[in-house]
């Protein structure tokens, strides 16, 4: 397939690996922030192909995994209501709340529907004026513009039965939280290309400077990732700490101004709870001003439930890059994709799912 096969070319990958081997003289620990990158790394076996002195650590960049259990519990309550059609991306349907997931609510009779975009949810709202249609609006800066657009469209059309349950998270504050943690062992970051397509990468520059950490913006194909690792290791070896853009076919320093304006119109920055990690200041987005009337949590006036996590699950540590999935005592035993204790085991971007799917053989996953 044109424009894809080129980034999955075996010979080019081998060449890039040899270049990495040549440049890496010391051990380096690198975090790929984004869950899609984690999956690509394990799906193509990149972790096994890299020279042993390079350690990859998986970051918190799976929006499904970091959606707080409290919000998932709220979703379950809303989705169980007779007067609601609950719409969500497929990924969220299997994420466990305190006691069950959205697919279980569906099996019990709740009207839970999978959609591909908030615009699909808007259509459901138009087609079902007698019901309240709630869209589970989660994600990083990548999905925020489309969600904002859906709210603006609902406002323009006067669609009173459309609501959103939001859990938006932002990448730079998460990188800052990891970089400033006393437990941090990450020496350089691979930043997520999709997010930077929207935001640009200028906001990563103060982070690189403050924490003396090189950051390379990259994509999701094996050659993108290998190329970015080469760029990052070259910086580390040279003692540089800059933001570099490997993903220039999609990302500019300024990003997509129109998308940013749309986000600013509808959302405001707020403190945000990350599942397994806790509250990170100014790391989320919430509906603001006249758009708060679309906030499902507010409209349904949901009381705080006593949400709880499975005690044995170490998803929080996995998401912070402190531990790897196979180090969890429940990994592959009590916790599998069919019966997950933590969100990283069910999300298609989750690190635990990536290990379970692609690297479960003993000794294959470093």
């Amino acid at each position: 397939m044109r424009y894809l096969d080129e980034y999955r070319d075996g010979a080019a990958a081998q060449k890039m690996l040899r270049q990495i081997e040549r440049v890496a003289t010391r051990p380096w620990t690198i975090m790929e922030v984004c869950g899609s990158q984690t999956h690509a790394i394990l799906k193509y076996g990149i972790d096994e192909l890299l020279p042993p002195q390079i350690t990859l650590i998986h970051g918190p960049g799976c929006p499904v995994c970091v959606t707080p259990v409290e919000t998932v519990d709220q979703a379950l309550v809303i989705a169980s209501r007779d007067d609601v059609i609950f719409t969500s991306y497929g990924d969220m349907l299997r994420v466990p709340g305190s006691s069950k997931d959205l697919l279980s609510v569906k099996a019990e009779g709740g009207d839970v529907r999978m959609v591909y975009s908030p615009m699909d949810a808007l259509k459901v709202a138009r087609d079902n004026p007698g019901k309240r249609v709630v869209f589970f609006a989660i994600g990083f800066e990548t999905t925020a513009p489309a969600n904002a657009m859906a709210v603006v469209a609902a406002e323009r059309e006067g669609l009173a039965n459309f609501l959103m349950l939001t859990s938006h998270v932002l990448i730079p504050p998460a990188i800052q939280a990891i970089a400033s943690s006393p437990e941090n062992r990450v020496q350089g970051f691979l930043a997520p290309g999709h997010v930077c397509t929207v935001t640009g990468y200028a906001q990563y520059e103060p982070l690189a400077k403050k924490y003396r950490l090189p950051i390379v913006v990259t994509g999701f194909e094996p050659l993108d990732i290998l190329h970015a690792i080469h760029m990052l290791v070259s910086q580390l070896e040279a003692g540089r700490h800059e933001v570099e853009n490997q993903y220039s076919r999609s990302v500019t320093r300024e990003g997509n101004r129109q998308a940013q304006a749309l986000i600013d119109e509808v959302f405001e920055v707020a403190d945000q709870r990350w599942r397994g990690i806790g509250v990170i200041p100014c790391s989320g987005l919430r509906l603001k001003g006249r758009y708060t009337k679309y906030d499902a949590a507010r409209v349904f006036a949901l009381e705080e439930t006593a949400s709880r996590e499975a005690s044995v699950c170490i998803a929080g540590l996995v998401l912070q890059g402190v531990r790897k999935p196979p180090e969890c005592p429940a990994f592959g035993k009590e916790c599998t994709p069919e019966h997950a204790l933590g969100a990283p085991m069910v999300s298609s971007e989750g690190a635990c799912a990536a290990y379970y799917l692609y690297a479960r053989r003993a000794g294959t996953a470093r």
Binding site: M1, L4, R8, D9, G10, A13, Q14, S36, L42, K43, Y44, G45, I46, E48, L49, P63, V64, Y89, G90, D91, M92, L93, R94, L103, S104, K106, A107, E108, M114, Y116, I138, G139, F140, T142, T143, H194, P222, L223, L226, T336, P337, E338, H339, V346, S348, E349, Y356, L357, Y358, A359, R360, R361, T364
Partner: protein, 347 residues
């Protein structure tokens, strides 16, 4: 008073049947292995092949059944009627049997347009002729509106096992070569594209077709077939994992050799799906004796349906029960059974 034994499915985890129990992945497997197989336990069922092998007065027969609940009922390249005929005929072919007779159970929902039903029936007739089978018995029921999805079809079939055929997981051994008879994902993507209203530049058509002539050609050419499986629900990954698990063999496949059309790949990239897990209806994998894979693939390529047949991998004596893929960039990774339904990713 009858005392029922406790349900073997953990009710704390699964108090109700989920859609994923029918997705062809791990939950389907658990339903079969924990509930159905031990309850109906007998030597004919035990191999859990696509059909049961029965010997009557020295004649070896294969018996198979399947139900069809596809939505929408009409799709590019086929319809539920063709699927119901070819699906069961192909399951018989996977036992090395020539499909002969089918039964047909129709469950119709009140309100189904009569014209749709007529189209489906005609299509079944045409498909039966194409597959060389006769529909010799049947049943029809109508359920109230809202209690069905238009039309459900069950077909069961009987076939005569080819002379000398001995196709079973136990015959799989290291060195066996794995041939895939046609491209991946056409059926699943044709349905999904239609369901999701995707308008594609080039239409993806279901590969729904009878595969017995291809199996027969292999057998007639003296290819030693150890195992056959059609990668329907759950796709190629489930088919290979079932073979690996049942036979205890290790399987290695080569990503670069897998035939995936640009259209199928495109939809998969767009929706975040993996062609390895997408359903097929007109292809199969054949595990043949060492050294015969190339010849088998060449033979299959003489048929229009097998024109893209390719040797995709082999059986090894390392990593028993596991399927491993050599990736395009020459890494290695596990190919696991799907966990429930494939759900498109968020970003």
């Amino acid at each position: 008073m009858t005392i029922f034994p406790e349900c073997p499915i953990p009710l704390t985890e699964y108090p109700r049947v989920l859609l994923a129990h029918g997705g062809g992945g791990r939950l389907t497997q658990s339903l079969i292995e924990k509930m159905l197989e031990p309850s109906f336990d007998n030597p004919y069922l035990a191999p859990l092949h696509d059909g049961a092998l029965i010997s009557l007065d020295g004649t070896r027969l294969a018996l198979s059944t399947d139900s069809y609940v596809v939505h929408p009922p009409f799709f590019p390249g086929g319809d539920i009627g063709r699927l119901a005929v070819f699906g069961t005929a192909n399951d018989l072919a996977m036992c090395g049997a020539r499909p002969l007779f089918l039964s047909c159970g129709l469950i119709l929902e009140e309100g189904l347009p009569m014209d749709d039903l007529w189209r489906i029936v005609l299509s079944m007739k045409e498909a039966a002729d194409e597959a060389g089978v006769q529909i010799v018995t049947g049943d029809s029921k109508v359920v109230e509106r809202g209690k069905g999805d238009g039309v459900f079809i069950n077909t069961s079939g009987v076939g005569a096992v080819l002379p000398g055929a001995d196709i079973a997981p136990e015959r799989v051994r290291p060195g066996d070569e794995i041939v895939l008879s046609g491209p991946l994902g056409l059926h699943g993507i044709a349905i999904m594209a239609m369901r999701e209203g995707l308008s594609l530049e080039a239409e993806v058509r279901s590969d729904s077709a009878p595969v017995f002539p291809l199996v027969e050609a292999l057998a007639q050419a003296g290819i030693e077939i150890h195992m056959l499986r059609d990668p329907t629900r759950g796709g190629l990954s489930s088919a290979l994992n079932e073979i690996a698990k049942k036979s205890g063999a290790g399987i290695v496949i080569d990503e670069e050799r897998l035939p995936v059309s640009p259209e199928v790949q495109g939809v998969c990239e767009m929706l975040g799906l993996d062609p390895l897990y997408v359903a097929n209806e007109g292809n199969f994998v054949a595990l043949v004796a060492e050294g015969q894979g190339k010849k088998a693939a060449e033979l299959l390529r003489r048929f229009p349906l097998g024109s893209e047949a390719v040797l995709i991998g082999r059986v090894v004596d390392t990593h028993p029960g596991t399927v491993v893929m050599r990736t395009r960039i020459r890494g290695e990774r596990i190919v696991d059974v799907m966990s429930g339904e494939q759900l498109p990713r968020i970003c």
